[in-house]
C-alpha cells in the first residue's frame, strides 16, 4: 500500500485511471473497443483536445486558466469559414482563412493576457467574460447558422488527409507537442512559466518580468486554440458557431488529470496529452456502451471534480511526506 501511495504522489491519478478504464471498456465494449479501427478513431479524435490542452496547460502553469477556449474555437470556426467563403480562388481562400482564424483566436489570447497580466484581474473573471464575448461574436457573425461551401480541399487535406498512412491531424499534433515540450523543458520561457506559477514573488525577485510571461502564456494558448479551431473546422467541413462547448471543461480536466497542478508551477506536456487521451477514451468507451450524451456530460463533470480532488490529495500527501 505504501509503495502504491508513493507512485500516486509521484505520477498522479492518471496511470491508475487509464488502466482501470482500459479494462472496463474492453470488458463492457463487447469487442468493439479494442480494435485497430476504433483505436485509430480515438487517436484522431484526441488530436483536437490534445492541442487545446497543450495551450490550456500553459495558462495553468502560470497559476491561471482559460475558460474562453471553447468559445474561441467557435469564433475561429466562424471567422475562418466566412473568410474562405468570401474569397474566390480556393488555395488563397484556404490560406487566408486559416491565417485569419488563427489570428482571431490569438487576438482573444492577447486580450485575455493584457487584462490578466497588466491589469491584474483574476483569470477566472477575465476568461469567463471573454467566453461570453467570443461566443456572442461567433453567433452574431454567423447569424447562428453553420457556414457551408468551404473549399473541398480544406476538408480533404486538413480534415481527413493522410501522409504515409498517418492522418495529418495526428502529424500536426505530434509536431505541436514536440514544440511545447521543448519550450517547457529547454527554453527560458518554459522555465519562467514554472517560476511565475510556482512562486510569483520569488520570480519577481529574480528579475523575471512576471507580467510579460503571464501575458505570453495566454497569447500562446490563444494561438493553439486557433489552430484547434481551424483543424476542427476542416474536419467538420463547415463553420460551426456552437463548436467546442465542452472544451474548456475537458481541457482543464485533461491537464489536471495529466498532472498539471491548478496551483501552478507543476506539470508536463506529456502528462497533459495523456490526460487528453484519457478523456477521449472515456467518451469513446461511453459511446460504444451506448451511454446517452446527456449522461456523458454528467460523467465528465464528475471526472473533473474527481481529478481536482485527487490533485489536492496528492499535493497534501507530498507535503506530509516531507
Amino acid at each position: 500500500m505504501d509503495s502504491l501511495k508513493q507512485i500516486f504522489v509521484k505520477v498522479g491519478v492518471l496511470p491508475f485511471l487509464l488502466i482501470a478504464l482500459l479494462i472496463l471498456f474492453t470488458l463492457a465494449g463487447e469487442g468493439r473497443f479494442m480494435t485497430i479501427s476504433n483505436l485509430l478513431n480515438v487517436s484522431r479524435q484526441t488530436t483536437y483536445l490534445a492541442i487545446l490542452t497543450a495551450g490550456q496547460m500553459l495558462t495553468i502553469l502560470c497559476a491561471g486558466f482559460d475558460l474562453s477556449v471553447g468559445s474561441s474555437v467557435a469564433l475561429t470556426s466562424v471567422v475562418t469559414s466566412m473568410s474562405m467563403v468570401a474569397i474566390a480562388a480556393p488555395t488563397m481562400a484556404i490560406i487566408i482563412g486559416m491565417i485569419v482564424g488563427i489570428a482571431t483566436a490569438t487576438l482573444t489570447g492577447i486580450a485575455n493576457g493584457l487584462t490578466i497580466a497588466v491589469f491584474r484581474v483574476s483569470p477566472f473573471v477575465v476568461t469567463l467574460g471573454m467566453m461570453s464575448v467570443a461566443q456572442g461574436l461567433a453567433l452574431l457573425l454567423s447569424k447562428g447558422v453553420p457556414i457551408f461551401n468551404l473549399p473541398p480541399d480544406f476538408n480533404r487535406i486538413l480534415g481527413i488527409g493522410k501522409i504515409a498512412g498517418v492522418p495529418i491531424p495526428i502529424l500536426i499534433t505530434l509536431f505541436i507537442v514536440i514544440v511545447i515540450y521543448v519550450l517547457l523543458s529547454r527554453t527560458r520561457i518554459g522555465r519562467y512559466f514554472y517560476a511565475v506559477g510556482g512562486n510569483v514573488e520569488a520570480a519577481r525577485l529574480s528579475g523575471i518580468a512576471v507580467r510579460k510571461y503571464t501575458f505570453m502564456a495566454y497569447v500562446l494558448c490563444g494561438t493553439l486554440t486557433g489552430i484547434t479551431g481551424v483543424m476542427l473546422t476542416a474536419r467538420v467541413a463547415s463553420g460551426e458557431p456552437n463548436l467546442g462547448a465542452a472544451l474548456p471543461l475537458e481541457s482543464i480536466a485533461a491537464a489536471v488529470i495529466g498532472g498539471v497542478s491548478l496551483r501552478g508551477g507543476e506539470g508536463g506536456v506529456i502528462g497533459a496529452i495523456f490526460g487528453a487521451i484519457l478523456i477521449v477514451l472515456i467518451r469513446n468507451g461511453m459511446d460504444l456502451m451506448n451511454i446517452s450524451s446527456y449522461l456523458q456530460m454528467v460523467v465528465m463533470g464528475i471526472l473533473l471534480i474527481f481529478a481536482v480532488v485527487m490533485d489536492h490529495f496528492r499535493l497534501s500527501m507530498k507535503g506530509r511526506l516531507r
Binding site: R188, Y194, A195, A202, L205, S206, S261, R322
Partner: protein, 497 residues
C-alpha cells in the same frame, strides 16, 4: 532509570521518508517542569521528532508514552486533546483572518448560535498583553510582519491547557525584549509542571532557558546533557561531529575604493535621509530593531521599494532605473529573509531554484544548455555542501539550512559584485551558519561588496567592517568594527548616539 517525574517517553522512534532515514532509534524523555532542548543541524531530525510527538506524523517504529499510558496520535488533534501543544516554524495561521479569529480558530466562543465577539476580543487582548506582545487583535494576520505572526502563533499555542509545549525556533524573529517576555512565560509554565521541548540554534538563549539538552545528528541521538555541562564548543562538536575553533572567521582584508554611494535616499515606505558609502571588499552590516528599516534599505537598493528622493551611485554613475532585473545586470543581488515566501519556488528542483536569476546566461540559440547548467549546479552543491547532492530533487524536500544554501549560492551563478544578504542565517543551524560566514569572508576577500542585514548583534560585531544602525527608518549611526559592541549597537538601535 527512575521515573524522575517523566511525562513523556519517546522510545526507539524510527521514521523514514522517501530516500532518507530521518530518525534512527531515537529515545527522548521529557520531565514535568523542565525545558528540554533539542539541538542539532538542520536535517538532523529535530523537527521530525517534534512532529511525531505532536501527532503530525506517525513513527514507523517505536512507541510514545504519556506518563504510563502508551499513546498513538493519528492526527495533531489527538495530540492536542492529550495536552500537547506546538508552535512551529511554518505558521498555522490563516492570513485572511484577524488575530482574534486566528486565536480562537476551532474554539470560537458562541452565544445563542452566533459568534460572541466581545469576550473573544477581550481574552485575545489580555493574552497578548500578558505576553508583552504589542499587536492589534483586530489586525489581519496577513498584514503582520513575520515577527508579529510568530507572536500570535505562540499566543495561540499557549491558550489551551497543556501538559507539554513544543516550541520550534520561537525566537527567530523576536527582539530581545520579546524574548525576555517569552522566557518569563516559559518559567511560569515550568512552575506549573508543563514540560517544554525547545528547538533553537541560539546557544546563548539555550543556556539561559534550558535545563537539559539532547543533541541529534543524522537522525540519531548523540548525547543528552544537563545544560550546566554544555558549552558552545562541546555542543557544536557534538552536533557536527567536527571540531571548531571559532564560530566566526577572522575578517582580515582591508576594503579599498568606494563602489556604492547612497545620498539622502527616501522611499514611499518611510525611509528618509539615508546616506552611506561602501567600499570594495567591505562587509557592511545593517542593524536595527524590527521595523527600523534595515530590510527596506536593502530592498530599495535592489529596486523593490519605490524611491521618492535621493540618489544611488554605482562606480560613480547615478542609477536611474532600478528594478530587480536591472540590478542583476549591474551585478547586484538581493537575498530575501523569508526564503519560502520570496526566495524559492518550492515545487521546483534544486537546479531550477539555483539558477533562477541567471537563466539567460545559459541560453544559446534560444535553448537552455542543460548540461552546462547541471555542471555549474553540481559544482555549487559541492562547494556549499548542499545535501542531498541531487540537482533534480524537488527543493521542498531539502532541510531549511540546505534550502538557504541554495538561495545564497545564487550569487555564484552570475557575476555579482554587490551582495545584499537579508537575515542570511535565520533559521539555520550553527554548522550551516559557520559555512555561510566562511562564504562571506571569501566574498569580501575577492573584492565583492557584502551588505549584511542582520538582527543578530554577535554576527554584526564579528563579521562587519562597519555597522550602520537604523532607527525609525533613518540612519542612527555608522559604527566601525573597532567600536562595535553590543552596547553601542543597541543604544544606536534605540536612537541614543
Amino acid at each position: 532509570m527512575t521515573s524522575d517525574n517523566l511525562i513523556l517517553r519517546a522510545e526507539n522512534i524510527t521514521k523514514r521518508f522517501p530516500g532518507v532515514l530521518a530518525l534512527d532509534q531515537v529515545t527522548f524523555y521529557l520531565r514535568a517542569g523542565e525545558v528540554h532542548v533539542l539541538f542539532g543541524e538542520n536535517g538532523a531530525g529535530k523537527s521530525t521528532l517534534n512532529k511525531i510527538i505532536a501527532g503530525s506524523y506517525l513513527p514507523d517504529e517505536g512507541n510514545i508514552y504519556l506518563g504510563e499510558e502508551k499513546v498513538v496520535f493519528g492526527t495533531p488533534h489527538d495530540a492536542r486533546l492529550k495536552g500537547i501543544s506546538a508552535v512551529y516554524q511554518e505558521f498555522s495561521l490563516v492570513p485572511q483572518l484577524t488575530v482574534v479569529e486566528n486565536l480562537f480558530l476551532g474554539q470560537e466562543l458562541v452565544k445563542r448560535g452566533f459568534l460572541d465577539k466581545k469576550p473573544m476580543f477581550t481574552v485575545a487582548k489580555e493574552s497578548l498583553s500578558r505576553l508583552g506582545f504589542d499587536i492589534d487583535p483586530l489586525a489581519q494576520v496577513g498584514t503582520l510582519s513575520r515577527a508579529e505572526a510568530q507572536m500570535v502563533e505562540i499566543a495561540k499555542a499557549i491558550q489551551q491547557k497543556m501538559s507539554i509545549l513544543i516550541l520550534d525556533e520561537p525566537t527567530a524573529s523576536l527582539t530581545n525584549k520579546e524574548v525576555d517576555h517569552l522566557f518569563d512565560l516559559i518559567r511560569k509554565l515550568k512552575s506549573d509542571g508543563v514540560g517544554i521541548i525547545y528547538i533553537s540554534h541560539r546557544i546563548d538563549e539555550l543556556k539561559r532557558i534550558g535545563d537539559r539538552i539532547t543533541v541529534l545528528r543524522d537522525g540519531k541521538r548523540v548525547a543528552t546533557l544537563d545544560m550546566a555541562e554544555a558549552n558552545e564548543q562541546k555542543l557544536i562538536s557534538l552536533m557536527t561531529g567536527r571540531e571548531y575553533e571559532d564560530v566566526f572567521p577572522q575578517i582580515t582584508n582591508i576594503p579599498s575604493k568606494p563602489v556604492l554611494s547612497v545620498k539622502n535616499l527616501s522611499t514611499v515606505s518611510g525611509l528618509h535621509n539615508i546616506s552611506f558609502q561602501i567600499q570594495e571588499g567591505e562587509i557592511f552590516g545593517i542593524a536595527g530593531l524590527i521595523g527600523a528599516g534595515k530590510s527596506r534599505v536593502g530592498r530599495a537598493l535592489y529596486g523593490l521599494e519605490e524611491i521618492t528622493g535621493g540618489d544611488i551611485r554605482l562606480d560613480g554613475q547615478i542609477l536611474r532605473k532600478i528594478s530587480p532585473a536591472e540590478s542583476l545586470n549591474r551585478g547586484i543581488l538581493y537575498l530575501p529573509p523569508d526564503r519560502h515566501k520570496e526566495g524559492l519556488v518550492l515545487c521546483r528542483s534544486v537546479r531550477e531554484n539555483q539558477t533562477l536569476c541567471s537563466v539567460p546566461l545559459f541560453e544559446r540559440g534560444g535553448l537552455i544548455q542543460l548540461k552546462r547548467e547541471e555542471t555549474l549546479v553540481r559544482r555549487l552543491i559541492d562547494k556549499m555542501k548542499i545535501r542531498p547532492p541531487e540537482p533534480d530533487r524537488t527543493i521542498i524536500y531539502l532541510s531549511g539550512g540546505n534550502q538557504q544554501k541554495v538561495l545564497i549560492a545564487r550569487g555564484l551563478t552570475r557575476d555579482v559584485k554587490i551582495f545584499i544578504f537579508d537575515e542570511a542565517t535565520s533559521g539555520i543551524d550553527v554548522g550551516a551558519k559557520i559555512e555561510v560566514y566562511e562564504f562571506l569572508k571569501e566574498l569580501s576577500e575577492k573584492g565583492s561588496v557584502v551588505i549584511f542585514i542582520s538582527s543578530e548583534i554577535e554576527e554584526l560585531i564579528h563579521l562587519c567592517h562597519r555597522v550602520m544602525v537604523m532607527h525609525d527608518n533613518t540612519v542612527s549611526k555608522i559604527i566601525p568594527h573597532s567600536d562595535a559592541s553590543e552596547e553601542n549597537i543597541l543604544s544606536a538601535c534605540f536612537g541614543y548616539c
